[in-house]
């Protein structure tokens, strides 16, 4: 037997088996591992609606900061955490609720009553009361909560990202 001949069919057979099998093993591990790490986990619960405020307590046309507690599914835990929203009552049945983070880099913005606009302290983005970008580096309007009004209560769902070009 001549093991040294690099071109012998035997050697070629060994090499193809070695690389073929290791390729299979690698694929059989890499694929499930990427799925494990990258696929979102199956959701346990449907979206919930959380009661955030009394409609009667909101001033029409002026943003009010409402603080409420919301359940958040966090891996294997469900945590109840404080969340805020800026609620603007348009009519008794119509409300906009803005997520409290600036769409630029996530700072908390606030309402400037004198100028009647939202101001982000970080890089001075400003937004109109309904969330449109007026100036500054923010790339898109403020994100909104899904809203529902039931029996005079404001119910909030999940935050929906606003469209870029709006």
């Amino acid at each position: 037997m001549n093991h040294e001949d690099p071109n012998s069919g035997r050697r070629l057979f060994f090499l193809s088996v070695i690389y073929g099998l290791w390729g299979l093993i690698g694929a059989a591990l890499a694929l499930p591992a990427s799925i494990y790490l990258l696929f979102p986990p199956r959701l346990r619960r449907r979206e919930e609606w959380t009661e955030a405020a009394d409609m009667g307590k909101l001033t029409p046309k002026t943003p009010t900061e409402v603080v409420f507690r919301q359940n958040r599914v966090d891996g294997w835990k469900i945590t109840r955490e404080r969340t805020t929203a800026w609620a603007i009552k348009i009519s008794d049945t119509e409300v906009i609720a803005l997520a409290p983070q600036c769409t630029h880099l996530g700072c908390a913005y606030h309402w400037d009553d004198a100028k009647r606009q939202f101001l982000c302290p970080c890089h001075t983005s400003t937004f109109s009361p309904d969330g449109k970008v007026l100036s500054g580096p923010a790339p898109r309007p403020l994100d909104r909560y899904e809203v529902k009004v039931e029996n005079g209560k404001l119910l909030l769902g999940k935050v929906v990202e606003s469209e870029n070009a709006a």
């Binding site: 093991h3 050697r11 060994f14 090499l15 088996v17 070695i18 099998l21 290791w22 299979l24 093993i25 059989a28 591990l29 499930p32 591992a33 799925i35 494990y36 790490l37 696929f39 979102p40 986990p41 199956r42 346990r44 619960r45 449907r46 891996g75 294997w76 835990k77």
Partner: protein, 544 residues
């Protein structure tokens, strides 16, 4: 393109000497007799790396504290995509690792490959065997279910009984008093922080020694030309690794590893069992009672390890062919016989019906159903309702989606409809259901419980519980007993029954209640054997 690759490789080689190192590793010369019998070491190394890989992935979704550990493992198994596969790869990989390490050792032992000058290689191997067992021991606790908890109680108790060292060992394991957060942290720390680097160092030392002395030649090899490690031996190693991996993968996909109840220190009925590879030790303990117990738990295992260490120093004769090493074969045969006998005895004496094992990694919403609703699941299955109705899964079927019936219809409407479908729904194609009134009641009760959210979880109720509930209903147990808030309080409520009763007791009690509980008004029940099994399993599965 090729030129670039060659230049990059050249650059790296010039700076690091990596290529030369790899070449000299691969083109190592091995004796002419080397072959398939030498693959086990490589397989063991591969499995070790695989355990590290799956272990790290599991750690990404695992919270190493009691309670949290259980919840996060359940999350891995039921919610993370591919999580169950990862856990089962890690679980079965551990078992396979033990098997392969032992096979490796047997091979070396049979061939006498530990002889001068390879004693140190053997010793490093013995340490690696002990390390492998230590992984098994510490990893066993990490799911923090009942099995993990009680198995570890026994382990730490054994350690604490060691002569002289006992109290210190038990303090070291954090097992003084009871097993809790401290023990857990120590086991986890050992499993993921202490053992891996030690193992890696020992593997390096072991492989270095193998390379330094070369693979042990068989008598007569001197006359034959040496072979190269690559590619012929690498090919054999690869095939062996692939076979091992394929078996493991199939097991991980097909063989279900359950998650039991959350660890419960007050559960008096639990019979602890170690993992299969420790069963022989567990069984051996039964032969030693009272003060002799340490002989079985500490002395004999220690002697066995010492014997392993002494092997190369006791057997120092000249190298023989493997086919002439009768004593070695005899020793291996006896060891396997002893191990197999003890393990078999342990398995045979494991009470089959000690407790109902519910798999808590599967949906367990069904545990909250009343017996009537549960029996409804049985009729639901028997009548094969899903052949025409969707149940919250949005599939388009002939009949309406049943997961929404609760909001639309009352029980009375449903029962009337079951009997004469076309009466209430003109033109309905549904055939009338041929069941008695109480049975229709049960079916309606279950349907009222269905929502789109719980539909699949409720339908996943295990057969033993459904059958048990059918018997429960048929015998009208609910006329005296309370289960999940439904029934009467004439007799004792049955929730949490598994805490203070076992199956044997239930069977005796059913056959002759007065003999077991004098003065009881419970009538006798002469169930058939299979009905008895089902009703007992169901009753013992009822939650607190």
């Amino acid at each position: 393109m090729m030129r670039v690759v060659v230049r990059v490789i050249g650059w790296i080689e010039h700076r690091t000497g990596l290529e030369t190192a790899i070449r000299s590793f691969l083109y190592e010369e091995v004796p002419a007799s080397s072959g398939w019998q030498h693959v086990f070491g490589s397989v063991a190394l591969f499995l070790f790396m695989l355990q590290a890989f799956t272990g790290i992935l599991l750690a990404f979704n695992y919270a190493p504290t009691p309670g949290e550990a259980y919840n996060s493992l359940r999350y891995i198994m039921t919610e993370v995509t591919g999580g169950r596969l990862m856990r089962q790869l890690h679980h079965w990989g551990a078992s396979m690792m033990i098997v392969v390490v032992v096979l490796h050792m047997i091979q070396v032992f049979l061939f006498g490959a530990y002889k001068k000058p390879r004693e140190a290689t053997w010793l490093a191997g013995v340490v690696l065997l002990l390390l492998t067992l230590a992984y098994g021991l510490t990893g066993y606790l990490l799911p923090w279910d009942n099995r993990a908890y009680w198995g570890t109680v026994v382990t730490t108790q054994i350690a604490s009984k060691a002569p002289v060292l006992g109290p210190y060992l038990s303090r070291l394991l954090g097992g003084e008093g009871a097993i809790g957060v401290v023990t857990f942290a120590r086991f986890y720390g050992m499993h993921v922080l202490l053992l891996p680097p030690i193992t890696t160092l020992m593997i390096i030392a072991h492989v270095f020694l193998v390379r330094k002395h070369g693979v042990a030649p068989a008598p007569g090899d001197e006359a034959k030309p040496l072979k190269k490690f690559y590619p012929e031996q690498v090919y054999k190693d690869t095939v062996a690794i692939f076979v091992a991996f394929a078996i493991l993968f199939v097991m991980a996909v097909a063989a279900h590893v359950p998650l039991e109840r959350l660890a419960d220190p007050t559960d008096t009925s639990y019979v602890p069992r170690p993992d299969w590879y420790f069963l022989f030790l567990f069984q051996m303990l039964k032969f030693f009672e009272g003060p002799l117990e340490v002989v079985g738990s500490i002395v004999l295992p220690t002697l066995a390890v010492i014997a392993l260490i002494l092997v190369p120093f006791l057997d120092r004769g000249r190298v023989r062919r493997v086919t002439e090493r009768y004593t070695a074969f005899g020793v291996v045969f006896l060891a396997l016989l002893g191990w197999g006998g003890l393990t078999g005895a342990a398995i045979a004496t494991t009470p089959k019906t000690a407790a109902v094992e519910i798999d808590f990694s599967a949906p367990t919403e069904w545990l909250q159903l009343s017996p009537e609703e549960m029996a409804g699941v049985g009729y639901f299955r028997k009548e094969n309702c899903v052949s025409c109705h969707a149940v919250g899964d949005g599939g388009a079927k002939i009949g309406p989606d049943l997961a929404n019936t609760a909001i639309r219809k009352s029980a009375a409407w449903m029962i009337a409809h079951f009997k004469r479908p076309s009466m209430l729904v003109p033109g309905s194609m549904m055939p009338p259901i041929q069941l008695s009134d109480p049975q229709l009641n049960a079916l309606a009760a279950f349907l009222l419980k269905l929502t789109p959210q719980n539909a699949s979880a409720l339908q996943a109720a295990p057969a033993f519980a459904v059958d048990g509930a059918l018997i429960y209903q048929a015998n009208r147990c609910g006329a005296c007993h309370l289960v999940n808030g439904v029934g009467m309080k004439v007799g004792p409520p049955l929730n949490g029954l598994f805490r203070h009763r076992d199956k044997a007791w239930l069977v005796r009690h059913f056959r002759d209640p007065q003999a077991v509980t004098p003065g009881t008004i419970m009538p006798r029940y002469a169930f058939s054997q299979s009905d008895m099994d089902k009703i007992c399993s169901y009753l013992l599965s009822l939650p607190d």
